[in-house]
């Protein structure tokens, strides 16, 4: 191989930076959806590279369900402070308090679905016209069909059967007033690519991704963190376990894995040997075979 060849990570990085710059050039008011998970952290890192030495020309937007891990919130605030990024936090609790949504009830209640309303309300309030997200096509079958520039109608809905063709690297961000786009710069990255990149770039990530002792319990073969947002059933007994999180979402819908991986190298090796998909521990996807597709059509991330 000659020297004028990029490794897969360099090529993916270049593609993502191109997409991020297209967003800044084509839209008036973009925002970067930031969850504190590794994918949005990588997006933030790529955006810093894309616009250096200038600051990122759009704010970070966090849809806070109120059920986040404390570590995620601390990480988010530190990151915004360290790099002088503008952070907007929209709260699902506010949507509940103002009667925009009704909280789910029962043992498996989650605020995951409610986020969509908060997100769409926030888009409308701030008049955002493009929301950059860290979703990847390898994550889930509905996401496998996403475009880099994904059009949303005035109700924030996705129409998977009528998507714009996306050719070469020509991204069509034209839209009518009231419509917006979701843009996915790391569409072509796999879970392994993300971890290899975090390793290569030495990106700081929340402590939740590394092994730690935590009080957990098991329900439907998933290891949950014991927290007051998930009421225990009578037969469920929390115990201390050596765990880490493979993805980070709400406490109520993110499963932990038993792991002793304490460094990014160890995580990369662990991911290489994984026998279950990343979202296998995501309870939000398990509601039905088309759970993600249905949520996405309504305007979910």
């Amino acid at each position: 191989m000659n020297q004028h060849h990029l490794t897969h990570l360099k090529e993916l990085e270049s593609e993502s930076i191109f997409v991020l710059r297209e967003v800044a050039a084509q839209f008036e008011k973009p925002a970067l959806l930031f969850s504190g998970g590794k994918d949005s952290i990588v997006c933030f890192h790529l955006a810093r590279k894309a616009f250096a030495p200038a600051k990122i020309p759009f704010p970070l937007l966090h849809i806070d369900t109120g059920h986040n891990f404390e570590e995620t919130i601390i990480y988010r605030d530190d990151l915004a402070n360290k790099y002088g990024a503008q952070l907007i936090v929209a709260s699902v609790q506010d949507s509940i308090d103002t009667g925009r949504v009704t909280e789910e009830k029962g043992f498996n209640a989650s605020r995951n679905v409610l986020q969509t309303v908060t997100l769409l309300d926030t888009i409308e309030n701030y008049k955002f016209d493009a929301l950059i997200g860290g979703a990847r096509r390898d994550e889930e079958k509905a996401r496998a069909k996403e475009r880099f520039f994904s059009h949303r109608d005035e109700f924030g809905q996705w129409d998977p059967k009528n998507q714009r063709p996306e050719l070469w690297n020509l991204f069509n961000g034209r839209k009518n007033i009231g419509e917006h786009f979701r843009v996915f710069p790391i569409s072509n990255w796999t879970e392994m690519d993300v971890w290899q990149y975090i390793l290569q770039e030495q990106i700081e990530i929340p402590s939740l991704y590394f092994t730690h002792e935590r009080e957990c319990f098991i329900r439907d073969e998933v290891i949950y963190a014991h927290a007051n947002v998930i009421p225990l059933k009578p037969n469920e007994k929390p115990e201390m376990m050596q765990v880490r999180f493979r993805t980070i979402g709400d406490i109520s819908c993110t499963g932990a894995i038993l792991s002793t991986a304490a460094t990014v190298e160890e995580i990369v090796n662990e991911v290489a040997a994984m026998r279950v998909t990343e979202r296998g521990g995501r309870i939000d996807d398990k509601r039905s075979e088309a759970a993600m597709e249905d949520r996405k059509k309504l305007g979910y991330f």
Binding site: H8, F18, N269
Partner: protein
């Protein structure tokens, strides 16, 4: 199920993009499922889900096609309706598959998948041979300048793995291909269902001396950057920090479309035609002495010239063309027909201008691949040659020499949708 080889944890492998095409029921999804399954890229929970669904629907075997099924409508109708992207890796390479449907009404998706592909797998049913859709796909692949075409003659199990069937279809295909400009052609007899010659060499087709599909995909060359390639740098965004630390800083951000840029190179900014030299090349705020395609960098020039998005910085020794009048091969992607005198937006690299269709020169007959000069209206999935005139000049190369600076999309200004994919063949 899954037991990945640990070498996949390899940060030095390269990226290879390929697309799949074929008629309905030629077994594309099964082939991809087989590639994923036999290369151990399927996770346990995916495997269990597909096993359960296969059983629930009463299939007699594990339906590998289910690994690539995405949307609800597809599961209900049992067909693929949109481009789906799949990822897998072997110790040698990372692969991105654009899985595109064979239905005639979704041909636009094949063009989409083909536009960025390093290779196309075209499937042919061994019982049916070359059909209309095969010709169409072969033609699209040649039109889009896909560097490698891999013709997989599938369902060999249903023709008793006979060599003469393979040879006959290969001959038929070569006849079709001889009318086209195909860069490299490969033929493999396979059974996606039974796994012959996909990842593992077939024991039932010992007469075939070539390699398996996976082996071929792992070893095909990806065109690298040649220092003789003409440098093309479409300006995407102007970086101006406006901070005390970087007071007068200004650089031009973009992704190098082709060639190599070096500090000190003599360059021309088009369409204005102003010359300068490269003062610096930066990536993520760090200076570099050179950069090459397809890197995303930021470039600054020695002279203070007005440069903005849509301009192109190019090597002064080999200039692209600057013109209003362009002849395109267009693949039409909209139900609303294309005709002379219609107006559209043209997006070319980072530029967006208006255009009028001056003339429909001819339409391609997809059965005979002949030029039909009396056909003047172009409908969904048609391929035609048209002449357009743009309101502002575009800085172009012919698609034949440059897939990035030689391609455009047409956008309908009322619906905002992408209605055509164009490849520049000539200027007037």
């Amino acid at each position: 199920m899954k037991n990945k080889p640990s070498e996949i944890n390899n940060q030095q492998s390269d990226l290879f993009r390929f697309t799949t095409a074929g008629s309905v029921d030629d077994g594309k999804s099964t082939l991809i499922g087989r590639l994923l399954y036999d290369s151990k890229s399927i996770f346990e929970d995916q495997y269990e889900a597909v096993k359960a669904t296969s059983k629930k629907r009463g299939y007699g075997y594990l339906n590998l096609a289910l690994f690539t099924d995405g949307l609800r409508a597809e599961r209900e109708q049992g067909i693929t309706i949109d481009v789906a992207y799949r990822y897998f890796a072997t110790p040698k390479r990372k692969f991105i598959i654009a899985d595109t449907p064979g239905h005639i009404q979704y041909t636009r998706n094949m063009v989409t998948g083909a536009s960025t592909a390093n290779a196309a797998i075209i499937l042919i049913d061994a019982r049916k041979g070359v059909v209309e859709q095969t010709r169409r796909h072969a033609y699209i692949a040649s039109l889009l300048r896909i560097p490698h075409i891999i013709v997989c003659i599938n369902k060999m199990d249903l023709v008793d793995f006979k060599e003469d069937v393979f040879k006959k279809i290969k001959k038929e295909y070569e006849d079709v291909a001889s009318k086209m400009n195909i860069m490299a052609l490969h033929f493999i007899p396979i059974s996606a269902l039974e796994g012959d010659n996909v990842v593992i060499s077939s024991k039932k087709m010992k007469w075939f001396k070539g390699v398996t599909v996976l082996n071929l995909l792992e070893t095909l060359s990806v065109p690298g950057v040649d220092s003789n390639d003409s440098a093309r740098f479409p300006v995407q965004y102007v970086i101006r920090p406006m901070s005390n630390e970087h007071h007068d800083y200004r650089s031009y951000a973009g992704r190098i479309a082709s060639g190599l840029l070096k500090k000190g190179d003599k360059v021309t900014v088009l369409p204005k035609g102003i010359s300068s030299r490269i003062k610096s090349i930066e990536f993520a705020g760090n200076h570099r002495s050179e950069a090459f395609a397809p890197m995303s960098v930021a470039v600054s020039l020695q002279d203070d010239i007005d440069v903005s998005r849509g301009d192109m910085i190019v090597n002064s020794d080999n200039l692209p063309l600057v013109t209003h009048d362009i002849e395109l091969m267009i693949c039409w992607m909209d139900v609303k027909k294309l005709a002379a005198n219609r107006k559209y937006m043209v997006r070319h690299t980072t530029n967006e201008v208006r255009c009028i269709v001056k003339e429909v020169n001819y339409k391609i007959n997809m059965n005979t691949l002949d030029k039909m000069t009396d056909e003047k209206t172009i409908g969904l999935n048609d391929i035609a040659c048209i002449s357009i005139r743009t309101t502002m000049p575009l800085v172009i190369d012919r698609y034949y020499t440059n897939r990035i600076t030689g391609s455009v999309i047409l956008i309908d200004e009322n619906s905002n949708t992408t209605v055509g994919a164009g490849m520049i063949i000539n200027v007037e």
